[in-house]
């Protein structure tokens, strides 16, 4: 069967890298003496000592080969899997669309001005105002576009903060154990029990952050403890795995083990959690802007919703689109994140990945 063959070949690639690591380790004398390979190995005698000093017969890959292989394994195969899965594809498309809207769109679409068109044009009727206008005659599409960069900055800041903090604390606590573990976990539990949304609201009101990055960071406070707990329990089990122990016996540094063995195995959780916390930050930020808790100096979907909620006559179906457009956008972007998270889940599911990787390679060669 073709897929299994490809699985084998990918495993040999793994083997090469570990062999390279082993040679690297073998050049250090103290680790070899600690390994206890010498005299006591029994009366059978005649152990070929060169086995232990021999560096491998595997030819060193050239830089070009390394880059190619890295590209295929890190970029090509995952994206092939992602694009094969309709959920991943759709999610990625939605998010790319939003990023384009936030970067390119801002320059293409001019800023909204008051009274640039008639009041309350319903959407999809007049194509000078594709999404209609609000009570001040502002084009809703332009408002939407110019609100996107702030949203994206907020999401990035918040999701990054929660993922970095959660992973960092969870990994250190799980790997170190002992006192560091108990201190960090007490901290995590404390933050977990403080009602997060209330804390965020209080902080936001007292400090009135204007910068979307700062808003994102404040919203990220609530998000990291759960991730820290999950990551810790994962690290606890990864720590006992054979390959981690092998790295430890080879005398590799803690940093190396954490980076290569632990973090790389945690990647599925991290990426999925990135998408999830991004979604949560969108929800919370829009809610806070909607309630007017955060300062309304900047254009934002939540601010738009607030304007619409107070400005439009909500019983009149001709005006309600003003409120519905930002809502639809929020739903769309969070749908994008959820679908992407599910698609990513598929990438990091190792068994599935091996099969798809084979499929991707096969498709390339034929």
């Amino acid at each position: 069967m073709r897929p299994t063959e490809e699985g084998e070949s990918s495993r040999t690639e793994e083997g090469e890298t570990t062999a390279a690591d082993a040679t690297e380790a073998a050049t250090r004398p103290p680790t070899r003496t600690d390994g206890g390979t010498s005299s006591s190995s029994g009366g059978a005698g005649g152990v070929d000592e060169t086995i232990f000093t021999q560096t491998s017969n595997v030819p060193d890959p050239t830089v070009r080969e390394k880059v190619e292989r890295g590209f295929r394994r890190r970029v090509y195969a995952p994206s092939a899997i992602l694009l094969n899965d309709w959920r991943g594809l759709l999610g990625a498309l939605i998010l790319v669309g939003f990023v384009l809207l936030g970067t390119v769109g801002v320059y293409v679409v001019p800023e909204p001005i008051v009274m640039e068109g008639p009041i309350f044009v319903p959407p999809f009727t007049d194509w000078t105002y594709p999404l209609g206008t609000g009570v001040m005659g502002q084009d809703i599409l332009k408002q939407v576009v110019h609100a996107t960069p702030a949203m994206l900055q907020m999401i990035t800041a918040g999701a990054l903060l929660s993922v970095v903090l959660g992973t960092g604390i969870g990994t250190v606590a799980g790997y170190r154990g002992g006192r560091a573990d108990s201190v960090l976990m007490t901290l995590t539990d404390t933050v977990l029990t403080i009602p997060g949304l209330v804390l965020i609201i209080v902080l936001a009101t007292i400090y009135q952050p204007e910068n979307p990055f700062v808003v994102g960071l404040i919203l990220g406070i609530d998000n990291w403890p759960r991730l820290a707990r999950t990551v810790r329990s994962q690290v606890l089990s990864i720590r006992e795995e054979a390959f981690t122990e092998a790295s430890r016996i080879m005398g590799l540094s803690d940093v190396h083990i954490l980076r290569r063995d632990v973090i790389s195995n945690l990647m599925p959780y991290i990426s999925v959690n990135f998408a999830n916390s991004a979604r949560r930050i969108i929800f919370e930020s829009v809610a806070l802007y909607f309630l007017g808790i955060l300062p309304q100096s900047q254009l934002n979907w939540g601010v738009m919703m607030d304007d619409a909620y107070t400005g439009a006559n909500l019983t009149n179906p001709n005006q309600i689109h003003w409120l519905l457009v930002p809502m639809a956008l929020i739903i769309l972007i969070s749908l994008g994140f959820i679908l992407l998270a599910q698609g990513l889940d598929r990438i990091f599911n190792v068994r599935l990945r091996a099969r798809h990787e084979g499929a991707a390679d096969g498709g390339e060669s034929s």
């Binding site: 007490t186 539990d189 404390t190 977990l192 029990t193 403080i194 009602p195 997060g196 949304l197 209330v198 804390l199 609201i201 209080v202 902080l203 009101t205 007292i206 400090y207 759960r226 707990r229 999950t230 810790r232 329990s233 929800f283 829009v286 809610a287 909607f290 309630l291 007017g292 808790i293 919703m305 909620y309 909500l314 019983t315 309600i320 409120l323 809502m327 929020i330 739903i331 969070s334 749908l335 959820i338």
Partner: protein
């Protein structure tokens, strides 16, 4: 745990730069400077006194003294300070608002959890069927739509347009409080939409429970139980349901905190005068003692919820005696 949370709150509230104390102080100083007066020692004292009346904090007292006094007042006299804006003790305001909040949140949470667990189980039993597909779609949709959007939309449809439910308040003003039918109907009507939205907020976990159920159903002991002739219902509840519940249960416990937190948003949207509304108004009026007090109240309620969940954890999972050595995060 409570004291740590309290201390953190207190620290955040007092120590960070540009906190309430400094804000008020700076504002007052600016006023003085605009009047062309330079702050002398006499005026500094007056500023400090004004800051104290505005925030309930005396800036001339070091933080550890005021922390001690604050704690002492709460524990010995149940005194959370005095609301500046409403001119009433904080405790009284919160005490009257509290039950309504708990009423809505607990109903929403209980309904949401029960229904999502039931759906999850049914989905698992009909795996791959039409019901499963439809419900999976709905669950994903539910996690995409924020609960407050649902709240706003239901408010617009059922209250503004159809007029079935009132758009604010917590009871019918024309009825007399007590155990009579119109009063109770009024309460239920006012609570219906908030509870529905809280239900949406806590509806989740159906998919996770479905996955767990499916995995448990494939286990060997289920087959053994079937071979032993144990009834279908007993297998479903005692064998599959209970074992599949364990991993979801911790998630539910963590959800408690977020449900109580979300009541601020919900109650403000529905204009439902309970804890959330009180907090929101306090925030808008910069009523710092009231903010601090309601924050502590929220923390206490959340901690109580988690404690209850923690104690009942042993009932569901007999392997856990007490809450301390639980490791299934």
């Amino acid at each position: 745990m409570f004291f740590i949370a309290l201390t953190v709150t207190f620290a955040l509230y007092r120590m960070l730069p540009f906190g309430p104390v400094e804000m008020v102080k700076v504002r007052l100083m600016k006023q003085l400077l605009e009047q062309g007066q330079s702050p002398s020692a006499e005026q500094m004292r007056r500023i400090n006194a004004m800051v104290e009346t505005y925030t309930g904090i005396d800036p001339s007292v070091p933080w550890y003294v005021s922390y001690y006094e604050y704690l002492r007042d709460i524990i010995l006299y149940q005194d959370f300070g005095h609301s500046i804006f409403k001119n009433k003790p904080v405790f009284d305001i919160l005490y009257t608002a509290m039950p309504w909040s708990v009423f809505i949140s607990v109903y929403g949470l209980a309904l949401g959890t029960t229904v999502s667990l039931l759906f999850g189980a049914v989905m698992a039993y009909n795996e791959g069927g039409k019901f499963d597909a439809v419900m999976t779609f709905i669950s994903i949709g539910n996690s995409t739509v924020p609960y407050y959007v649902v709240a706003i939309l239901t408010l617009i449809v059922f209250s503004f347009n159809l007029g079935w439910f009132p758009s604010g308040g917590r009871m019918d003003p024309s009825t007399t409080p007590g155990l009579n039918l119109p009063f109770i109907v009024g309460i239920v009507k006012h609570a219906a939409l908030p509870v529905f939205s809280a239900f949406i907020a806590s509806f989740g976990g159906a998919l996770a429970f479905r996955g767990n159920c499916i995995r448990e159903m494939g286990e060997g002991y289920i087959r053994v139980a079937r071979l032993r002739g144990i009834s279908q219902g007993r297998i479903a509840i005692r064998y599959v349901g209970r074992n599949a519940l364990l991993p979801v249960y911790t998630n539910i416990m963590m959800g408690i905190a977020s449900v109580f937190g979300s009541s601020i948003i919900l109650e403000t949207i529905f204009n439902y005068p309970a804890m959330g509304m009180v907090t929101f108004n306090a925030l808008m009026n910069r009523d710092y003692p009231l903010i601090m007090g309601s924050f502590i109240f929220f923390t206490i309620v959340t901690l109580t919820g988690i404690l209850v969940a923690d104690l009942t954890y042993g009932v569901i999972d007999p392997r856990v005696k007490g809450g301390n050595e639980r490791e299934t995060y």
